[in-house]
Amino acid sequence: MSPMYSIYKREFASYFVTPVAYVFIVIFLFLTGIFAFYIGAFFETNQADLEPFFRFHPWLYLFLIPAISMRLWSDERKSGTIELLMTLPVSITDAVIGKYLAAWSFTAVALALTFPMWITVNYLGSPDNTVILASYIGSLIMAGGFLAIGSCISALTKSQVISFVISVVICFMFILSGFPMVLDIFQSWAPQAVLDAIASFSFLTHFTSIKKGVIDIRDVIYFSALIIFWLYVNVVVIEAKKAS
């Protein structure tokens, strides 16, 4: 068994020995339902698709993903287990990726448990199931982006609360980077090329096309690059701060 897989296995199992996993999953399912039926007007739109369901995923992830990621490294640093972990024959990269994949798998489990939505829409009408599948994949990839940010931030602090708050703020900037509230900060002094670059970072823009059922290679590259970047920074941060 590779060291990365051992770490993955331990981390994934650790969600389920405490109530964290169950509380999270229940709240996630409850909120996705509320948003889809009440705010997304799932019935009133009278269309056999899950767009009202997926539309709110970025906003749910904004708060729920940092709640998962906040303990990833903060807890290791606070309890001192990071010293144990980093003196086992495991590279930092293995540890970062193993823990990250465990958190991502956990999100995948939560997302998979929304399957009653899919059954409902198939019972009521005949939706395009490939679009739904693409949306699920897109939602999971986006969750991976949020998680990579959260994992990196949690390595910066021993406090889970600080980790949560900073992750939410950064994820919020990434969601809205194509919108005036973020762009206005740069408008007055940054050149247009920089503005365009920042605008292209928006999770919402990239998710919009995916949730229509179009998995564009550019969106996949965007999220992959984002995940790799944040995990790389995560490794660097741990290297520098593991002992402090």
Partner: protein, 251 residues
């Protein structure tokens, strides 16, 4: 006796604070080295550098011929380490924790379960095996930490205060365990308890403010005191150096 741990002019500074200043020593196979010194002397920092947790500011550490900076994974494979305070994943049971360590240490096949059972038996933690670690007493947590460190039967053992928080009987057990293991390992322990040095160590190093003040056998350490008392010897060595420092610092 082959040299197993080679520490050469090891230095560590945290900003302006020099935690360890140019420490050099060797540990041979079959030796138990006792690391003594006042709090904040640099004992733990030195151990953290040997195990590859901390990067030295300068100097080198070699374990079984591998440089800890160039080949950290090889060093970590042959070292068993009990960090200060015996950190462990509190929500895990003792059993799942030891299984995790066995996974990471890549113990496989039939020898794996046998070794886990053996260690559980040696360390005497059988009756808490299904308890989560956070519910254990300090003494048991420490024992789980030792179990984790010796699980892969490493040739080098680094134990940071292995008997801290144990009751006298448990201390006695752990000391016997260290003595038993010492034949085919190189062991470094740090401790505050001076009688321990006499009981288990074949060599003692006294370190204070990052410098080595004494390096010799426990008998030689006792000989430093005109009262043949190890505690007195320790005080003589550690306080006289403090006096010297004061003299040199004075104008």
């Amino acid at each position: 006796m082959p040299v197993t741990i080679k520490v050469k002019s090891l230095t560590k500074s945290f900003g302006p604070i020099h935690a360890v200043r140019g420490v050099s020593f060797d540990v041979n196979h079959g030796e138990v080295l006792g690391f003594l010194g006042p709090n904040g002397a640099g004992k733990s920092t030195t151990m953290k550098m040997i195990t590859g947790f901390l990067e030295p500011t300068s100097g080198t550490v070699e374990v079984n011929g591998f440089d800890v900076r160039e080949n950290p994974i090889a060093v970590k494979r042959s070292v068993g380490y009990l960090p200060e305070g015996a950190p462990a994943y509190g929500e895990m049971t003792v059993k799942s924790f030891l299984n995790f360590i066995a996974d990471v240490r890549q113990l496989t096949g039939s020898s794996r379960q046998k070794r886990i059972d053996e260690v559980v038996d040696i360390i005497n933690i059988k009756h808490v095996i299904d308890q989560s670690i956070e519910t254990l007493s300090k003494g048991f947590k420490r024992r789980v930490g030792i179990a984790q460190a010796i699980l892969h039967d490493p040739s080098v053992l680094i134990l940071d205060e292995p008997t801290d928080g144990l009751d006298p009987n448990q201390k006695h057990e752990v000391r016997n365990l260290i003595k038993e293991m010492s034949e085919d390992k190189a062991i470094v322990i740090s401790t505050h308890i001076l009688e321990e040095v006499d009981a288990v160590c074949s060599r003692a190093i006294i370190i204070a403010s990052g410098d080595i003040l004494f390096d010799g056998t426990p008998a030689e350490l006792i000989a430093k005191s005109d009262r043949s008392d190890i505690e007195h010897a320790f005080r003589v060595i550690t306080t006289s150096s403090a006096d010297e420092n004061r003299e040199t610092a004075a104008p």
